[in-house]
């Protein structure tokens, strides 16, 4: 209950303070004993009141806004010092049988000083916290910028880029028209990845066009191993979605949804309900037997998507990851329709 400092204060500093007060006030009033007793009574009355404040008032004002809390706290401290002094003086008066009015004038400055000291302490604390908040904000800004850069990097997967360049290097010799088409698609993909980042939203159709081009290139690399089924509801075309929101999920499905021979069967379906656009991405891979965190790659992609959805829609979105029937993984995004 009591800390070492409390004990020290109660047993050493308070009696010494009362003694000092007794000497000074006694010097002027000529009554040392009375002054010392008044000091002691006042000081311990204040201690009792402050302890009561700590016990009963502080827990109650914990939830209030900070400024109000501090003002109430300082006010209560003022009040308890005043009351403490008056009660202390009354006690002394009862003890000695007479009342020395002069002592009030010596005690009052003390009553003002202690709460003033509190005020200064609070002010210093406020200032420190303000600085801390500023620093924190700067740190957060730096973190956000870093996160954005990382997200961009993740979307333009270097591995995908260099593999596609390798495919193109091959096709220039064996099948120049196909090489040409591949280069065009790669350009489309990079243009979209670079410039759509600046927009808050794009029509789903555009995002799907990008995904289609991306899958076309992956098909060049995967060959027969990649099978894609798209089922896009017509009425979903114009719904707004955050750009590049689907690509990490599709990439996850390609990477982690591979069957025993490395084959991938990817399904992408969109549908519209009263309030939400739903996009489902399914694979027929081994599924996630264990928690997502254990598939490091998948984890990062999903986290990026979740963060971006949260930044755009607050709580108004859904991102569900679960088993697909009969096997594999299913990810479903729900985005509020009509909103941005």
């Amino acid at each position: 209950m009591l800390s070492r400092d409390d004990v020290k204060r109660l047993l050493v500093w308070n009696p010494l303070g009362a003694l000092a007060f007794g000497l000074i006030a006694g010097y002027f009033t000529g009554d040392f004993r009375y002054s010392f007793a008044a000091g002691l009574c006042a000081i311990y009355m204040i201690e009792v009141l402050m302890a009561l404040l700590q016990r009963f008032l502080r827990p109650r004002i914990q939830e209030l806004p900070r400024l109000r809390k501090v003002l109430i706290d300082i006010g209560a401290s003022f009040l308890s010092h005043f009351i403490g002094i008056f009660v202390g003086l009354t006690l002394t008066a009862l003890l000695f049988g007479y009342f020395s009015i002069a002592l009030i004038f010596y005690l009052l400055p003390w009553a003002l000083m202690a709460p003033a000291f509190h005020t200064v302490q609070y002010a210093r604390m406020f200032y420190r916290e303000l600085r801390e908040t500023e620093l924190q904000e700067e740190r957060l800004k730096a973190l956000a910028a870093e996160a954005e850069l990382k997200a961009l990097k993740a979307q333009i997967n270097p591995h995908f880029l260099f593999n596609t360049l390798n495919t193109i290097a091959h096709l220039t010799r064996t099948d120049p028209p196909r090489a040409e088409r591949t280069v065009e698609k790669l350009a489309d993909i990079f243009r979209y990845a670079l410039f759509s980042m600046e927009k808050d939203s794009v029509p789903l159709q555009e995002e799907l066009g990008f995904i289609q081009a991306y899958l076309d290139l992956e098909k060049e690399r995967f060959g027969d191993r990649l099978q894609v089924n798209l089922s896009i509801a017509r009425d979903t075309h114009s719904i707004s979605v955050p750009p590049l929101i689907l690509q990490p999920l599709v990439e996850n499905a390609l990477q982690h949804g591979q069957g025993p021979q490395g084959e991938v069967e990817l399904e992408l379906a969109t549908s519209l309900s009263d309030d939400f656009l739903e996009i489902a991405i399914k694979d027929q891979g081994p599924g996630m037997q264990t928690i997502v965190a254990k598939q490091p790659g998948r984890g990062i992609g999903l986290r990026n998507v979740r963060e971006r959805l949260e930044r755009t829609y607050g709580e108004q979105y859904g991102l569900e990851i679960g088993p697909n029937e009969p096997r594999g993984t299913k990810v479903v995004i729900s985005i509020p329709r009509g909103q941005r």
Binding site: L161, N163, L165, N166, T167, F222, Q289, T290
Partner: protein, 249 residues
């Protein structure tokens, strides 16, 4: 003498390109192509090539998984599109690697270098241990382990593994009631496993921490670990201290 060479890549265009670029090379005799890691292990064992051009990112069993599955890996030139961690590991161990798309000149140079090194008898196998160690330092842990069974190659997800023991010069991997024998050292395998999941409990035992159910005090400060499968393994006194720190028990 021509180098008998095997191409391993899961992407058909990449294999074709490599084949075309190697076509005119007098140092090389192509002995085959594998389109995934498991096929690569089989073909290397069948044809015992002098040199393998090995892609790293492949489904199911990646390039490192292939090397780990081999008793005596041949000389290898790694091929990758992009893998900064692996590249650092190669550089540390002075192993040759090709970055896709690579030029004809770069490929030729790699072949000449391979020819030289093989003729001076530098053993690629000697560099495998350090390579695996560097990969661990780059936090590139293996996700799958290939096991050579008499009639097939079995690929295990490391998360399926309950515990691993060194027994009479062999490494035995325990998965449920099954036992699989690997032809490698416990230290090599440990070098490739994620230390936050796999813990060396004893000189000859590595245990999957997810499977530890009970830690039972034993004699002289040692312990026994009882696993969810019911198996019991020894935990030495010194490793017990390390485990105490890891799990905070």
């Amino acid at each position: 003498m021509k180098l008998r060479t095997l191409i391993v890549d899961d992407e058909a265009p990449a294999r074709e390109r490599l084949r075309r670029l190697l076509a005119g090379n007098e140092l090389i005799e192509l002995v085959g192509e594998a389109k995934d890691g498991v096929e690569a292990v089989e073909m290397i064992e069948e044809t015992s090539p002098d040199l393998v051009l090995l892609d790293i990112q492949m489904p199911v069993l990646d390039g490192f998984g292939v090397i780990e599955a081999l008793r005596e890996p041949p000389a290898i030139i790694f091929v990758t599109a992009y893998d900064e961690y692996a590249i650092r590991a190669f550089e540390v161990n002075a192993l040759d690697y090709l970055l896709k798309p690579f030029s004809q000149e770069r490929l030729n140079k790699a072949m000449e270098r391979a020819q030289e090194e093989l003729s001076t008898g530098q053993e690629f196998a000697d560099r495998i241990g350090p390579l695996l160690e560097s990969l661990r330092e780059e936090k590139r842990y293996t996700e799958r382990v290939a096991v050579r069974e008499p009639d097939r190659i079995l690929v295990l997800d490391v998360e399926e593994i309950d515990w691993i023991e060194a027994r009479q010069g062999q490494v035995v991997v325990h998965v449920g009631q099954e036992e699989h024998v690997l032809a490698r050292t416990l230290a090599d395998l440990e070098a490739r496993l994620d230390p936050t999941l796999f813990f060396r409990a004893h000189r000859s035992v590595i245990v999957n921490l997810d499977r530890v159910k009970e830690i039972i005090p034993w004699f002289a400060g040692s312990h026994k670990l009882r696993l969810t499968t019911g198996a019991e393994v020894d935990l030495s006194r010194s490793r017990g201290k390390a485990l105490r720190e890891t799990l905070g028990w």
